[in-house]
């Protein structure tokens, strides 16, 4: 990227960075606030988890997308990250799936 930016260009981005920064601060306060409210059915906190993860993912998207310039990154980086994402999801999903009681032949 570095070569394509003139000085002028970069200074234009500064405002954007500051907006992201503000959004991240708001996001943080939001998660904490959301954790004190109970969403969904009475004795399940599934929806709380969903809400928290949605906020966290949004924040992660902002950091990765703008601070780390992923939004305008090269295809090569996207493909590397796509594979990594696939494998990490595979690791999590398959491990958890295979350890589900339904998939383990054992009776407690």
């Amino acid at each position: 990227m570095s070569d394509q930016h003139t000085h002028h260009d970069v200074s234009k981005h500064v405002r954007g960075y500051l907006i992201i920064f503000a959004a991240l601060l708001v996001g943080t306060v939001l998660t904490v606030w959301a954790s004190y409210i109970h969403f969904g059915a009475k004795d399940s906190n599934t929806w709380n988890i969903v809400v928290a993860l949605i906020i966290a993912s949004t924040k992660a998207f902002l950091v990765a997308g703008y601070f780390m310039h992923l939004i305008s990154e090269k295809k090569l980086i996207y493909s590397i990250l796509a594979f990594t994402g696939f494998f990490v999801v595979g690791l999590m999903y398959l491990t958890i799936w295979s350890m589900e009681p339904a998939n383990i032949v054992h009776f407690k």
Partner: protein
């Protein structure tokens, strides 16, 4: 060089002749680092082999003092080898360390780091690796990891004893610190591999010479490329697991320890709540990609040598490339075929069986391409070629015997028997090790400017081939009869421990003696190789030219040995890697950087 005058980046090597330390120990030159890796990992291979030779004595003659080195062992290791006899603990330690050393300190550094370092930058026409200093750090981290592993033999209680797979809870509850050393050693080795992997990938993507586009890369480079990705993405979960096991050992956590463990009559004072299966998942998530790390570089070497010595292009270059990519991709989702017997339900085992069967297909395709490439060739039987030709059926046997293991229902019987041992040793010993021998004989002239002796090379080959088969073929028979691995008495107890009890027939246990003798013979026939290796550095036949094998790939288009910076002039690449016997050409090989007659245009830098 194109960018020479860009900036005044200071390079000390360019200005004065570096001293011994800078040149050989703290070198950042990829070729020197490659050779450092090669020598170090050969030494580790030798150590790994020595361990198994001692173990094979115990298997053949359980409870008898080990001749010659028994006394030494007792002095060095104390009670574990009292009277020169191998104790069960020592057997387990040697077994675990044999696996660990062979895999992580022998084959991976030799096949990936050593050959990759020496050959890859040359083959793609680069001046060095992308990050020379990280390259050096990678080697140093490897040495530190290796030293920690070696030291662990001599601490009280000895080295790790829970197999190279280090299953918890066993690995955690063994009271000695060998396992802690193992974990810390592994962290260094993992770091080394990660640094190496990043370096290789960046080098291959960024440093290809002009015209060296993806489909013109030698298959060896592709193989290293896929291997680097396997290391990069599969190792971190093992690192995570190692950290957790370390916590279990030193901070009394219970990541892999379930509630209610009772060790020799005592309830273990831990919180519990962990899962032993979690370790297995994380281990095999690395473990399976790791086995392809052991084989892909070997396949790469085989491809180079076979095309060169059959004097014709590889058959199905694209299939090779896509198959190796497919193997790389699929190898991340087959791991639980090592865990069929951990109480797996139907759905999940169906998934892993199916992926296991699918992943065997690209291997079949790769092998098929190699076989068909021979058809129509003009085959020269020199030492490297012999090793590669032997690789094919040997890998074939090893790979095919993976199939009955891959079906869960037949694995019920074969799991943890010598059938498994024979399966993977056929792949890694007469497979990978042979390919690595081929690589050594093949690239030796480039590194030293001299040939190794052909005669002794052939002696080494034929006798090794014989011994390997004498060692591992009977293991299939033993495994089929139900003999288990990791038994320090060679199976004597399970032969039927009393009158009328049906156990393993004695015949199959007696095979151990024959196998052991073959293993020691194998050691003896390595002597010509070792002598040949060192003797030829000074006394071997000088190479007739920079390209003694009449090869096409770029590493042969440099001076011998290549200087710092590799190429006198950055090569331009005009064609694919294996243009042998091109119709209408005078020579039976057309180097990648030889301009087409009549054209003077320089090719565009890698269009695709």
């Amino acid at each position: 060089m194109q960018h020479t005058n860009q900036d005044s980046h200071h390079q000390e090597h360019a200005h004065h002749e570096p001293g011994f330390w800078a040149k050989y120990i703290f070198s950042t030159d990829h070729k020197v680092i490659g050779i450092q890796y090669a020598i170090t990992s050969l030494i580790f291979l030798f150590i790994g082999f020595s361990l198994i030779m001692a173990m094979r004595w115990q298997l053949a003659y359980p409870g008898k003092p080990i001749p010659i080195i028994g006394g030494l062992l007792q002095q060095a290791l104390g009670d574990a080898a009292a009277g020169g006899v191998m104790s069960p603990d020592l057997y387990n330690a040697f077994g675990a360390m044999h696996g660990t050393i062979m895999v992580f300190l022998g084959i991976v550094p030799l096949a990936f780091a050593a050959f990759g370092n020496f050959v890859v930058p040359l083959q793609i026409g680069a001046v060095d690796m992308a990050f020379p200093r990280i390259n050096m750090a990678s080697y140093q981290s490897f040495v530190v990891g290796g030293v920690i592993m070696m030291v662990s033999f001599f601490i009280p209680g000895g080295a790790a004893q829970a197999g190279w797979t280090s299953y918890s809870p066993l690995a955690t509850i063994i009271p000695t610190q060998g396992q802690t050393f193992w974990i810390i050693g592994m962290v260094f080795l993992i770091t080394s591999s990660l640094l190496g992997a990043v370096n290789f990938i960046v080098t291959i993507i960024q440093m290809r010479a002009p015209g060296m586009n993806w489909m013109r890369m030698p298959f060896f480079v592709w193989a290293q490329f896929v291997t680097a990705f396997l290391l990069l993405l599969a190792f971190p979960p093992l690192e995570a697991a190692a950290l957790m096991q370390l916590m279990d050992k030193v901070a009394d956590t219970s990541f892999f320890l379930p509630t209610g463990l009772v060790i020799s009559g005592q309830v273990l004072p831990i919180s519990g709540g962990g899962s032993p299966l979690l370790w297995q998942h994380l281990f095999w998530f690395l473990g399976h990609p790791e086995v392809y790390v052991l084989i892909l570089p070997a396949m790469g070497i085989v491809c180079e040598v076979i095309t060169n010595n059959s004097r014709k292009p590889i058959w199905g270059y694209k299939s090779l490339v896509y198959s190796s990519l497919a193997i790389g991709f699929l190898s991340f989702i087959v791991w639980a075929h090592h865990m069929y017997l951990t109480g797996m339900g139907t759905k999940i085992s169906t998934f892993f069986q199916t992926t296991t069967m699918i992943i065997s297909i690209p291997s079949v395709i790769i092998l098929t391409c190699f076989f068909i490439s021979l058809w129509g060739g003009s085959i020269r039987f020199n030492t490297p070629m012999l090793f590669c030709l032997a690789f094919l059926p040997m890998f074939g046997i090893g790979g095919l015997t993976g199939l009955p293991l891959g079906f869960n229902y037949s694995d019920i019987f074969l799991h943890d028997t010598y059938y498994v041992i024979a399966h993977f040793h056929y792949i890694v010993a007469p497979g990978t090790i042979f390919a690595l021998f081929a690589g050594i004989y093949y690239w030796y002239p480039k590194a030293t400017g001299r040939h190794m002796s052909e005669f002794w090379g052939k002696v080494h080959f034929w006798l090794s081939l014989l011994c390997m088969n004498l060692i591992f073929q009977p293991m299939f028979v033993q495994g089929m009869a139900g003999l288990n691995r990791r038994l320090y008495d060679g199976g004597a107890t399970y032969a039927g421990s009393g009158e009328g009890i049906i156990g393993i027939p004695q015949f199959f246990i007696d095979l151990n003696k024959m196998i052991s003798h073959a293993a020691w013979l194998l050691a003896i026939v390595q002597i010509p190789f070792i002598i040949n290796f060192f003797w030829s550095i000074r006394n071997g036949r000088k190479v007739a030219s920079d390209n003694p094998w009449d090869a096409t790939t770029l590493e042969w288009q440099t001076p011998t040995p290549p200087p710092h910076g590799n190429f006198i002039e950055v090569p331009n690449v005009y064609r694919g890697p294996y243009e042998y016997s091109v119709p209408g050409h005078k020579a039976d090989f057309t180097p990648q950087n030889e301009p087409e007659p009549g054209t003077h245009k320089t090719a565009k830098p890698s269009p695709k």
